[in-house]
Amino acid sequence: MSSLRIATQLQRKSFRPGEEVSGAIGWTLDKQPKSAEVRLFWYTAGKGTRDVGVVATQKFEAPQANDERSFSFRLPESPYSFSGTLISLIWAIELVVEPGGLSERLEITVSPTGEEIVLGKDALHRPANNAAA
């Protein structure tokens, strides 16, 4: 039976922009794959058509049928993980093995606070600013 595995260092799920995300991935397959790579990316979820931004990719040379490798990525300064009424932006690390398009995904949170930003809660209504006419 085939299986893909993915984990971050110390099983961390929350990161700040600019931080390094590192960890290990592994797979057990019936036969030797042609290629294996891990991608750092964000995607949108919600009402809108899904958009995807692949930030970095790490390819693994000579992948074996049963293998385990480590990975490391530097996070960019944006976008932050957020969730609103219509859109959520989710960061993830994905392992993709070919042929067959096998994949496994691990979701993480990227924001200055380390927590997903909830729209409407964090952007507060404020009193009127000073105006001079």
């Binding site: 085939s2 809108g48 899904r50 385990e68 944006s78 976008p79 398009g101 994949s103 507060l124 105006a131």
Partner: protein
């Protein structure tokens, strides 16, 4: 030490779902195969004539036969005699299929090519010598073989995919696999190219070609002619009946008798009946008229060589061409964006998405431009209204004609009501936008068009135009989500405001003309974000209530930046 998470995913594979899906694709495949078989049979049949031996023949009789009951009333009636393997045969076939036309001249040309008693060649089927033709059919027909191929491929692949066993329990599309914007732009460009080509082709056929003919006919001979028959010819189709003017007339050129049935240079039929009936009434059978004859080819004649009212309808396809051009321009711009900043690869330390803060932001105060200017609103509304009403009007005119002639269709009329209401709404929007051009204009100058959360932006505003009619002015900062998605064939964008920060609210008219204020971006504000279908937009809104005129609501986008990364520590 790393702990690895083991996952096993299952793929749903219900038999009823597969059966339903297969049925859908079988229909596709079946239609494609049926069309391919029929087309191939015809191509093979035409191809076989290439092996038919060429034999001399004598034309016994040749004429134009008129059969009024047919929509293509003129038939090439020919009889020729030939010898094959020592035996004499007669044939009445000019081509594999009957040679017919709605245009008298097309058939007359055949008569002139094969006149009585003339020697010609014919092609004889060696297996059935009683079967012969004067002309081989065109092989352009073989191009139709391409048409069913997409249906067969889609149908075949669909059925194959339905019954493919899952290769692995882990097989699921990787989220990070994306289609590049350039590929998407190419597909879209293909779609708009069809609009453009169809629009231009229709324009060329309905306007350019008749206009060129009108120009050429300026030097034609003006000759007296006798009207032989005159009627409005109906053409029955799937979408109802259309009509054309059918006037058959006789004239003499170079001492020889000719006949023709062309009324004007715009051929074809349309839904209006009354106009055609009025034309027919002017050309009663037996009456004399003047017709214009091509001196170089006296078989070519026309009754009216001026621009007829029907020709103005030829301008309608230009709407399709305009839509095609606008779409292609959009595609080229998208493709350039894709070249410069693909959403699939974001440079580290830069804002997500294609949009970046304006470069002009570096040198102090700048005047912002409204996201949608009143002129853009008017032009956009006008294009949509013309496009929508152009299409709807074709059906409405057809329905009105039906009612006028006692053939009203209740179901079609009720069906069209919502489409007409939408069209009227669009016309209303265009009128509203037009009046809106005369509402006061807003000028907004800001100290910076982009800011970090917590930063302050100074701005000043000026209203121009009919400021005395402004009863209230509000300026507020708003953050909203925009999600674009497809529902069926429609693309919709939903918006949700998550933050509104009032800044200015003035109800005294003497104070609204100009002023300045300060905006503080909330410290916890999410940064601006723009990907292809999803956006976080921060904007300053200037809203003016205007008496007896459309209110002003202009939006000026500002960019909230993400917190810059801390510089790397020096060791």
């Amino acid at each position: 030490m790393l702990n690895l998470r083991f996952v096993t995913m299952s793929r749903p594979s219900g038999i009823p779902g597969r059966l339903f899906g297969s049925l859908f694709f079988v229909f596709f495949l079946g239609m494609g195969v049926l069309f391919l078989v029929l087309t191939t049979k015809e191509v093979v049949k035409r191809g076989e004539t290439l092996r038919w031996p060429i034999v001399p023949c004598t034309i016994v009789s040749s004429s134009v036969a008129a059969e009024k009951s047919s929509e293509n009333p003129f038939r090439f009636a020919v009889n020729y005699q030939y010898q094959f393997r020592g035996r004499s045969y007669h044939s009445q076939r000019a081509e594999l299929s009957e040679t017919r036309s709605g245009n008298y001249r097309d058939v007359l040309r055949m008569v002139e090519r094969y006149p009585e008693k003339a020697q010609a060649i014919c092609y004889v089927n060696p297996a059935h010598p009683e079967e012969a033709i004067l002309q081989r059919s065109s092989f352009w027909f073989a191009l139709l073989l391409v048409v069913p191929i997409p249906f067969i491929v889609i149908g075949g692949l669909g059925i194959w995919a339905m019954w493919q066993p899952p290769t692995s329990s882990l097989t699921q599309p990787a989220f990070s696999r994306t289609v590049s914007p350039r590929t998407r732009s190419f597909s879209l460009a293909l779609f708009f190219s069809i609009f453009l080509v169809a629009g231009l082709a229709a324009f060329a056929f309905l306007v350019i070609r008749p206009m060129m003919k009108i120009q050429q006919s300026r030097h034609w001979l003006q000759l007296p002619c006798t009207i032989l028959s005159s009627e409005v010819r109906p053409h029955h189709g799937d979408n109802g009946t259309t009509y054309s003017v059918d006037i058959f007339y006789q004239y003499f050129a170079n001492g020889k008798e000719y006949k023709a049935n062309r009324y004007s240079f715009l051929t074809g039929s349309s839904s209006g009946y009354d106009g055609k009936a009025a034309v027919v009434a002017r050309y009663r059978p037996g009456t004399k008229a003047l017709c214009f004859v091509n001196p170089a080819d006296p078989t070519e004649a026309v009754l009216v060589r001026r621009v007829t009212p029907e020709m103005w309808f030829g301008l309608l396809p230009t709407i399709f061409a305009v839509v095609g051009v606008c779409g292609l321009v959009y595609c080229v711009r998208q493709s350039r964006l894709g070249k410069n900043s693909s959403i699939t690869a974001i440079p580290a330390g830069f804002m997500a998405g294609a949009q970046s803060p304006p470069t002009s932001d570096l040198g102090g105060p700048i005047e912002l431009k409204a996201r949608i200017s009143p002129r853009m609103k008017l032009v956009g509304g006008l294009i949509v209204a013309l496009f929508w009403n152009g299409i709807v009007s074709v059906f409405v005119v057809h329905l009105i004609n039906g009612w006028k002639h006692g053939r009203g269709e209740w179901f079609s009329t009720i069906f069209m009501i919502p489409f007409v209401l939408i069209g009227l709404g669009l016309v209303g929007f265009v009128v509203y936008s037009l009046v809106g051009l005369f509402s006061p204009r807003v000028k907004l100058t800001v100290s910076s068009a982009s800011a970090l959360p917590g930063a302050r932006i100074q701005f000043n505003w000026t209203l121009e135009g009919k400021v005395q009619r402004v009863s209230r002015l509000q300026i507020y900062f708003e953050g909203r989500e925009e999600a674009t998605y497809k529902r069926g064939t429609d693309t919709s964008t939903d918006k949700a405001v998550f933050a509104t920060i009032p800044i200015v609210d003035i109800q005294e008219n003497f104070r609204v003309g100009s002023g300045n204020a300060e905006l503080q971006v909330p410290a916890c504000a999410i940064h601006s974000f723009s990907s292809e279908h999803n956006k976080i937009i921060w904007s300053l809104f200037v809203k003016a209530d205007v008496t007896h005129m459309p209110d002003v609501k202009d939006e000026f986008e500002l960019f909230v930046l993400p917190q810059p990364l801390a510089p790397p520590m020096k060791v």
